[in-house]
């Protein structure tokens, strides 16, 4: 006997993501899901970015890692409201699922925020599959990783709304071809805007900060 089902297996996550979206929209907070491999510089980029957004833009950060509160400790000095998510409570997950984001977003409280950044677990595969109710996804690649990463991990570059190429201050010391890396990103996602930055020296940060400000203004404008 065959029983017809026709259901999306990720339906539960998508229902939870929709609930998150509703909560974020009610509070007019722009939510960015930031994804990359471990060590590409998400936290450093946020540290430098958030100090330039405060106090005009009220920022919250949910930072996901398997273990430690190191990232939250680094981000706390920016003045942002920060909450560390350690997924070892959830089986050492390789990504943040919508229900995890919901739990922590409610604990952090989005009522007094304009921007919420969810720094996902460092991983170029799994986070791409899970909608968390965000407004936009950003994927970061650093110049110490290899120009062909977009071709090797196409899904995450396909689903992202923007890409950031970080650590360009190291280019003189490496064989990394930044032009080729951007070309590869555009092969996977032809229209993707790419911001080339060096979080450490703050080179190139301005266009990315401007992008964030515009997105936040658009969301606040909905009020």
């Amino acid at each position: 006997m065959e029983i017809n089902i026709q259901k999306n297996v990720l339906e539960a996550n998508e229902t939870e993501a929709d609930r998150n979206r509703k909560y974020f929209n009610e509070n007019n907070v722009f939510v960015l899901n930031m994804m990359s491999s471990p060590g590409s510089g998400k936290t450093e980029t946020l540290c430098k970015t958030l100090t330039k957004l405060a106090p005009k833009i009220r920022v919250g950060v949910l930072v996901g890692d398997i273990c430690t509160t190191n990232d939250a400790d680094r981000l706390a000095v920016t003045g942002a409201k920060v909450l560390q998510i350690n997924t070892d409570q959830f089986g050492g997950d390789c990504h943040l699922a919508a229900h995890v984001v919901e739990k922590y977003a409610l604990e952090l409280g989005c009522e007094d925020l304009d921007l919420l950044i969810v720094e996902n677990i460092g991983n170029l595969v799994c986070p791409a599959e899970f909608d968390i109710g965000e407004d936009a996804k950003a994927v970061m690649l650093s110049v110490t990783e290899g120009e062909d990463k977009p071709l090797k991990y196409p899904v995450i570059f396909q689903v992202a709304d923007i890409a950031i190429l970080n650590k360009i201050d190291l280019l003189p010391y490496l064989d990394f071809d930044a032009g080729l890396a951007v070309e590869n990103m555009k092969k996977v996602h032809p229209q993707i805007p790419v911001f080339e930055i060096a979080a450490k020296t703050e080179e190139g940060l301005e266009p990315w900060i401007q992008w964030l400000k515009e997105k936040v203004a658009q969301k606040i404008g909905r009020k």
């Binding site: 006997m1 065959e2 029983i3 017809n4 089902i5 026709q6 259901k7 999306n8 297996v9 990720l10 339906e11 539960a12 996550n13 089986g91 997950d93 390789c94 990504h95 699922a97 595969v125 799994c126 791409a128 599959e129 899970f130 977009p150 071709l151 090797k152 196409p154 899904v155 396909q158 555009k186 092969k187 996977v188 996602h189 032809p190 229209q191």
Partner: protein, 114 residues
């Protein structure tokens, strides 16, 4: 290894779909439609599924996967094609915005009981 979470959801939907009036149900096949760009590794999913369904009506059930091709549409020149590698550039106009028509789905389509 997000396949464990996927296997859990999949097993839950399958178990919930078994009619309550069937005595000692035993599922033989679970039919799935999975997009080629859904980042699912078949043997990882099967491995996780076997662990999850132990001591349930799904124990011993086989996953039959129909892989869905990645089909895309170029909004610039209206071209439609199947993407087989990581390159999503429109082969026709090279610059149009590309939208995905299929290839990311993870669907359970039916279960077959013994």
């Amino acid at each position: 290894m997000h396949e464990m979470g996927i296997a859990e959801q999949l097993a839950q939907i399958a178990i919930d779909s078994i009619p309550a009036d069937i005595e000692n149900p035993k599922v033989e096949i679970v039919n799935l439609r999975i997009g080629k760009m859904a980042a699912i590794v078949e043997h990882s999913l099967t491995f996780c599924f076997e662990i999850i369904v132990k001591d349930t009506p799904l124990e011993g059930a086989r996953l039959e996967i129909d892989f869905v091709p990645v089909m895309v549409h170029c909004t610039g020149c209206d071209n439609e094609w199947e993407v087989e590698g990581p390159v999503f550039q429109c082969p026709n106009c090279k610059e149009g915005k590309v939208e995905m028509l299929s290839g990311r789905e993870i669907q359970i389509t039916s279960i077959e009981l013994v």
